[in-house]
Symmetry: C2
Subunit: 218 residues, 2 copies
DNA sequence: CGCACGTCTGAACGCTGTTAAGATCCACCG
DNA sequence: CGGTGGATCTTAACAGCGTTCAGACGTGCG
């Protein structure tokens, strides 16, 4: 029993756990450092021997959560039916959005906490997992290599955007079934769009000066 | 001169202005209600005659900002070259992302503040503007009506996601030029994908049981 | 065995959001 | 025109917050 000892021994990890539980229960900012300390059975000031500030604790927690998401996404892609690159990417997107919905407060924390020191790399970062998946698509020739540069921004934006809209309550879907469907549709649409990006046949009836990026206003 | 008067007269609006300025200067949470009050030249408790709590003030501010965004998006779509529905939607997306980048802290506030009373409708809400634009696309036959239901989630997710990644510092693009380009590419990809959604010719070499949504794992 | 260092405590600081009671000004009614 | 009610703002106070600092406590190394 590690309780009741003067030296806690694993206070750092315990504080992170308590903070995560509090975020889950009361939202990103609905708790105090004193509260987390009390839950662990320790004086408020004890935390400062492990984190320079409350914000630092939150950032560390955020990194932990993001890394967990990265692992989850990698596993989800790996389990995709038929191990087909396209399917793998769909699974990535579905899993990303599901993760956000299963624990909205923690998901909000993960990315809203303002990146900490970028020299402490997060591994595996969801972004890197996505990059690997897109590279697979190029390898099999399903994604033209001309459309590859920056494609991760497009896909990540789409998936992350849906997750954000859902966790922030701006959009409501009924149940994980509908959530899955929408996520899959989204990834599918984005992918299709990327593949057809510079297709010769233009899907849109455009005015004459089609290729000039001209537009009104500053 | 409205200063120095005991009755401020427009304290409510002045507080909102001060709060917005503070958000711009120091971030979503880098300021206090007392600070905003002081800036307006008023005692801290005075704010409570106009807002039930600090959170309520922030939510009200958020609504004001979202409505301004809605107007901006509508104007941007209206200014689109040739008034073509496809171009209009591109302009919508570009303007949305630009708005976020021009004032990242305020943009974060807008959507991160947790919706207030939904009975106080925001007009024009960016979502509604988007819906109108998509309906235009259906009207001209550019978007099949079968792909229309829920399409606003897909497009909104994509655009909002890019804006979020940028304002949260998860992705960095160099300059508004690159931002515009990425935003346009994103909307273009999503639209193309939506249009081709149920195209008979499958872009992906899929295993036989293509249409069954079966996938491994819970 | 002793001692130094990492770990935690206790008390205190200034600041926060919020509340209660009282001062002040304005608009309206007689 | 005089007075009064109610909205508006002030002053004072509260508990709780993040953070700091001096000191008590254990542990492990010499």
């Amino acid at each position: 029993m590690s309780k009741e000892r003067y030296h806690h021994g694993e206070l750092r990890a315990a504080l992170l756990d308590a903070a995560e539980a509090l975020v889950r229960e009361r939202g990103v900012d609905g708790w105090s450092l004193r509260e987390a300390s009390a839950r662990v059975g320790v004086a408020p000031s004890a935390a400062y021997h492990h984190f320079p500030s409350r914000d630092a604790l939150v950032r560390t927690l955020s990194e932990r959560v993001i890394a967990r998401l990265g692992e989850r996404l990698r596993r989800a892609a790996g389990r995709a039916f038929g191990d087909h690159p396209h399917r793998r990417l769909i699974a990535y997107g579905r899993s990303y959005v599901r993760w956000a919905m299963e624990d909205p407060a923690v998901a909000r924390l993960a990315f809203a906490a303002g990146r900490s020191d970028p020299r402490t790399p997060i591994s595996p970062h969801p972004h890197d997992v996505l990059v690997a998946e897109l590279d697979r698509l190029v390898d099999t020739g399903e994604l033209p290599s001309t459309a590859r540069p920056g494609a991760e921004f497009v896909v990540w934006a789409a998936v992350h955007g849906l997750a954000t809209l859902l966790t922030d309550g701006l959009v409501e879907l009924d149940g994980p079934r509908a959530t899955d469907r929408e996520a899959e549709r989204l990834v599918d649409a984005v992918l299709t769009g990327l593949v057809r990006e510079q297709a010769p046949e233009q899907p849109w009836p455009t005015p004459r000066s089609a290729h000039s990026q001209r537009h009104a206003g500053p």
